[in-house]
Assembly symmetry: C2
Homo-oligomer: 410 residues x 2
């Protein structure tokens, strides 16, 4: 009941419906919510069809699976997403992040995992979040009772907010005060900023020195184009001692309607009781998932495993390229029109400064009314997002081109 | 960290693996965990294949769905599961439980829903559970911090336990003290007991008089064979003011690996703040689900909708009949052998008294070693389950018959 406002996207939906009702002929183009628009890759469709047929056969039917996911998927995840990445301080020939199967927890979505993870930590832990921020991190802590009330800016007491603006390149410094749990998201939603290895290094050191835990949301890692940017926080020395990493097939493979994701909780990671006793976080999360979750759909897991086949990788890469071309078109068009734009190079989001200092919601409304184009008001992600608009690259290419023409006309 | 023991089923799995390792030739038959073994009905397979193909097509691809589920499924649920049931105090021609679409919340499982529902209630609420009980109700409250520590019987302080034994026909009386949240499960897991309308009436009246909320787990309603037993608590006068109902496709349609369920939260239902202010529970759960959940898989929802087609209903009924025949075989065989057995008539579980007063785990071990048959120790569900074993009817008919022959031989 402490939550101030509705979740951001329902409010956007309300304004679109209201405008659409008054302007039934308007062809609205949405660059708002970050939702996949390209159909699933053929390799994924074939794998899921096969899984469905299996479920109808006496010999191949599967009931309850392991709560943490099937090994056929976990093996593919470790081999492709981690063993292929450079380990920290790797010697010659030692280019691999190693993980055990019981350090991977397959789930039905990164929203669920980033929302549920706080349950295994005490209510007195102080959390730190960036501003702007993906609202789920904050709202789930408010609901758990880990915060005080909101101020007039919508910021809650007992949360440490770390402003991200053009001045600091949308990368915050570690806070000065004591914090216990730090939410980081790179490539960032909503700003599109990415963290170089030395930035992640600084955060991991901060966490190690302060017995803090980093919750690292890497849901957009597949959109990184710069080869020097880490895809996993475990590319950084010591990260396994302090960081949980969240991954998702939602944007990587268009699974927003299929539902599959995973969370990495290394067994080296420790949290501390009030009395300073070290506790293994992996077994706490294992127990939480066994008690409250019954595994992701077998069919979704079969589809996710196909993402890692030779065909699946190629087809998913082509789809990601479509979205990243969209991002390039948005960046180029808006830059040409004189707007300040950020992100969109290693992330599927472009973060644009509104013109003439007008507010995010006013610019949202103006854009909807004059161009029939929908963005996401930056202020919906926090006070430091005021004066920005997020544009998503997850639209159809023709829609993106037309949206940019309308921008130019307005 | 307060949780006493691992979740029951992993411990059973451990003992089976240990026995199997020492006796590699033993053909173990499991009547333990309640997991579907019959393949999915053909109508469901066809619907899910079509859904998968749609996800691979430009025109029919679906991204994020409504967090509360698609209307195509919710419409079918309301029409078939509720409009077909007699409403309380129905006049002539008024035989229907009416629900609005926004009172149904589709999810990925009843374990998730019965585990998560406690989040929307304050930590000072006192919960009441039956003993024996499905462990998820208790463990999730322990994890939330709503209880004290466990005593030597494994029962936690600040929880009101209501013993269910042969003496009270496994139906508890409402507690004398004040409780805020009551978990009831009918048809019951593990005892197989069902509640007649007058029993549910008494509970609803108790909740109305005490401003309590009933969490009614009806995951096994499809197994009711007696026409006088209510399938929904909303068949009782006033239940919409005090009860949340949980349903699942797991056992009804073999969805344990597919994942789809739903929860009913009537808008009339109110909870009360510490200061006595009435709050609508529906909007709290709506906000919880919007913030922490992204909807069940579209493919699973398409499969669930097929459960309600003419073919789907017929095919699912045939599968349920297979399981209920199993239950009848178990009941008849064990009765003939002189055991005291309960349940198995309106529920897929048979609850048997162990012979000669031996403990549940000793009987479990003896049965595993001598007959290579697995049951679930009653004491795993609570102290009043000591001296009982749960036998699940969710096995293949030939396995059930062989298990009963081995029982007879031992």
């Amino acid at each position: 009941m402490k939550l101030q406002t509705g979740y951001l996207f329902p409010e956007i939906g309300r304004r679109i419906r209201s405008f659409g009702a008054k302007n039934p002929d308007a062809k609205i183009i949405s660059l708002g919510i970050g939702d996949a628009t390209q159909p699933l890759a053929p390799a994924i469709v074939e794998a899921m069809k096969k899984a469905v047929v299996n479920m109808g056969s006496e010999a191949a039917f599967r009931g309850y699976g392991p709560e943490q996911g099937y090994d056929f998927l976990i093996d593919a995840i470790i081999e492709n997403d981690f063993n292929s990445r450079p380990a920290p301080a790797a010697g010659v020939g030692a280019h691999s992040i190693d993980l055990d199967n019981d350090e991977i927890f397959v789930s039905d979505g990164a929203k669920c995992d980033t929302g549920n993870i706080q349950e295994i930590f005490g209510l007195n832990n102080v959390i730190a979040v960036t501003d702007p921020v993906y609202p789920v991190y904050v709202d789930t802590n408010v609901m758990a009772g880990r915060t005080g009330r909101a101020d007039k800016n919508g910021q809650y007491s007992k949360i440490v907010y770390m402003p991200c603006t053009a001045e600091n390149n949308f990368i915050p410094e570690p806070p000065r005060g004591s914090v216990d749990i730090i939410y980081l998201c790179f490539p960032n939603n909503p700003t599109g900023a990415v963290a170089a290895k030395e930035i992640l290094n600084r955060w991991v050191n901060f966490a190690r020195n302060n017995k803090a835990v980093i919750l690292f949301d890497a849901a957009y890692e597949a959109f990184i184009t710069d080869p020097d940017i880490p895809h996993s926080i475990y590319e950084v020395e010591g990260a396994k001692e302090v960081a949980i990493e969240f991954r998702s097939f939602s944007k990587t493979a268009g699974f927003t309607g299929v539902r599959c994701a995973f969370t990495v909780v290394p067994k080296q990671l420790k949290a501390y009781t009030k009395n300073g006793k070290a506790v293994e976080v992996n077994s706490l999360w294992h127990r939480r998932q066994c008690t409250k979750f019954n595994g992701a759909s077998y069919i979704s897991q079969a589809g996710a495993a196909a993402v890692y086949t030779t065909e699946g990788k190629k087809q998913c890469r082509e789809i990601i390229n479509i979205y990243m071309n969209n991002a390039a078109v948005i960046r180029k068009s808006l830059t040409k029109l004189g707007y300040d734009v950020y992100g969109g190079v290693n992330a599927p989001y472009v973060w644009m400064k509104t013109p003439d200092g007008i507010s995010s919601w006013n610019f949202f409304d103006r854009l909807l009314q004059k161009a029939n184009v929908v963005g996401t008001p930056g202020s919906g992600f926090g006070p430091s997002g005021e004066g920005y608009l997020r544009l998503s690259a997850f639209a159809k290419p023709d829609d993106v081109k037309e949206a940019m023409q309308r921008f130019a006309a307005v």
